[in-house]
Amino acid sequence: MTWLLVVEQMLNGLQLGVMLFLVAAGLTLVFGIMNLVNLAHGSLYMVGAYFGVAFLGWTGSFAASVVLALLATLLVGMLVEVIALRTLYERDHLDQVLATFGLILFFNELVAIVWGRAALFASVPPALGGFVELLPGLRYPVYRAVIILVGLAVALLLYVVVSRTRLGMLIRAGASNRTMVAALGVNIRLLYTVVFGFGAALAGLGGLMAGPIYTVQPGMGEDLLIEVLVVIVIGGIGSIRGALVGAVVVGMVDTLGRAFLKPLMATVVSPAAADSAGPALASMLVYILMATVLCFRPQGLFPAVRSR
């Protein structure tokens, strides 16, 4: 277990964190501003991945497929918002859970109808292939490094938007006191649609970047969604800063745990015990972390919501 290996895994953890952040950012805003439990957010991530693969096959150009997939996901997101979600804003959480659960079933089956149930193969674009030598002896995949950079760039962009623009001000205000914003005469419907679309595009971006490194198959959104929910719980609902911190923490803990817990355990208990209990414990780490945070800060680390 060399230091280089640790650094490499930390980078992987950062990359996973960035991916989680892209999906979490939009979702935490939807939770905080619209008070909407949207379980189908993972479906937008999945749709982004499928569009990415499809457009790449169609146009042959990675750049074009990125743009098209983003636009397509944005469109799907806004359609879903207008058709299905608008009526849910006023409903209680149970209704929202059920309706968005129905949407998940729908989307998972829809992609299976169009593209089949088997996992799709998406290749890393040649321009972003290969390795880069970050440190002497540490060769890291270019593509993953790009993902990290893109993710951090998006985080920076979001920071600028949220803290420097009028839209951002409305978002922050809406996250901490929704009724007040409405009372101020802001066009709430438009704000909601914009926020939702924004979130959908981010999720789609995460999805299309994920294509080449994770498997593209029906249900891929839900696996990610669970971790995204943990991120939001840890970070605090409605807070983008919380989403970033939570995502990086979760990404790190999960990746490092899976990589190193078993070998670490093997130094203390028998290899056989480490072999059987290691993976199980590793998968629990993130949830233990969540439970711990909840014990001390039930509202998460950076809750945006102060009063309703």
Binding site: V97, G102, I226, V233, Y287, P298
Partner: protein, 315 residues
């Protein structure tokens, strides 16, 4: 639903369920015996969820975790030669109850959106644990080494006997449930849903009651899990997958939550619907999904509100 109507619907439902094996036998369709037994097992799970969801207002998205625990509590002892139902089934309930205690102790400190997400996350955690335990089949799951043994003439290998055992358990659950919701405990739980702040203001420390309900619901669902393992004779961690939790919630809502018998109807409705739709197309979920959305938007009272003379009881 008014209590008399509810009692009537319950009796009719149980009677209909009791008649299924007879009808299935006469029509030479043993498959339906199997299907309705499956419906009843899920009904037990759904009724247990109704206690905390329909009556207590706790939207738990992790209820299927207890199905899984109950199932493993049967399969693992069977693997090691312990087949007695009198050991396995109480174990299933105890372990599920314990898990519910731990999960509830953390989750019930939160509410609203947080609570939903946390119950979901914990259940999924159990799912991931289940996948990673290789000796128990990991992702692929494992075969049940042998059905639970009740002893004497109660041989679960006989489809009819198994059917009536499940029916008896369901009936017992409905009877006990009816008493519980009207007793002091049930009154407190209903008050939690109605106005928890008020409940605390008059002096009820609601947390302990919510936790107790959570544990009871988990334990009963564990029993359903034990029965499910016997039903399918094969179990996988997917028993615990959160989409399974979603299915159970759908059953409660479709049938009418807060009625105890509603979830039984809901289980029947969902599983029969699946059965019918999947005969048409393998992609039946693309129909079920939007259907669900429509039901939520326009028919929240569920089936029990559609029955004649019954007022919708939803919250």
């Amino acid at each position: 639903m008014r209590p008399r109507r509810r009692a009537l619907v319950t009796i009719v439902t149980l009677a209909a369920l009791a008649a299924v094996p007879v009808i299935a036998g006469l029509a030479y369709q043993p498959f339906y015996l199997d299907l309705f037994r499956r419906i009843m097992i899920f009904a037990i799970a759904a009724v247990s969820l109704d206690i905390i969801l329909g009556y207590g207002g706790m939207v738990s998205l992790g209820h299927a975790a207890y199905l899984g625990i109950g199932a493993y509590a049967v399969a693992v002892p069977a693997l090691h030669g312990i087949h007695s139902a009198w050991l396995q089934w109480p174990l299933a309930m105890a372990l599920s109850g314990l898990a519910a205690l731990l999960i509830g102790a953390v989750s019930l400190r939160t509410s609203g959106v947080y609570f939903i997400m946390i119950t979901l996350a914990f259940a999924q955690m159990l799912y991931y644990i289940g996948i990673s335990i290789e000796p128990w089949g990991g992702d692929d799951g494992m075969r049940l080494a042998g059905r639970s043994q009740l002893g004497g003439p109660l041989d679960l290998g006989d489809p009819h006997v198994f059917y009536y055992v499940v029916l008896a358990l369901l009936a017992a659950l409905l009877l006990v449930g009816e008493r519980v919701v009207e007793a002091r405990f049930g009154t407190v739980i209903r008050a939690v849903k109605s106005n928890e702040a008020r409940l605390q203001a008059i002096g009820v420390a609601s947390f302990r009651y919510k936790l107790a309900a959570f544990v009871l619901a988990g334990a009963v669902c564990g029993l359903a899990g034990a029965l499910l393992a016997n039903q399918t004779e094969y179990l996988t961690p997917s028993f615990m997958h959160w989409t399974r939790s979603g299915d159970i919630i759908v059953m409660v809502i479709l049938g009418g939550m807060g009625t105890l018998v509603g979830p039984v109807l809901g289980a029947a409705a969902l599983l029969l619907l699946e059965h019918v739709l999947s005969a048409w197309t393998v992609h039946w979920q693309v129909i079920l999904g939007p259907l669900l959305v429509l039901v939520v938007l326009y028919a929240r009272g569920g089936l029990s509100s559609v029955l004649p003379g019954v007022g919708a009881r939803h919250g």
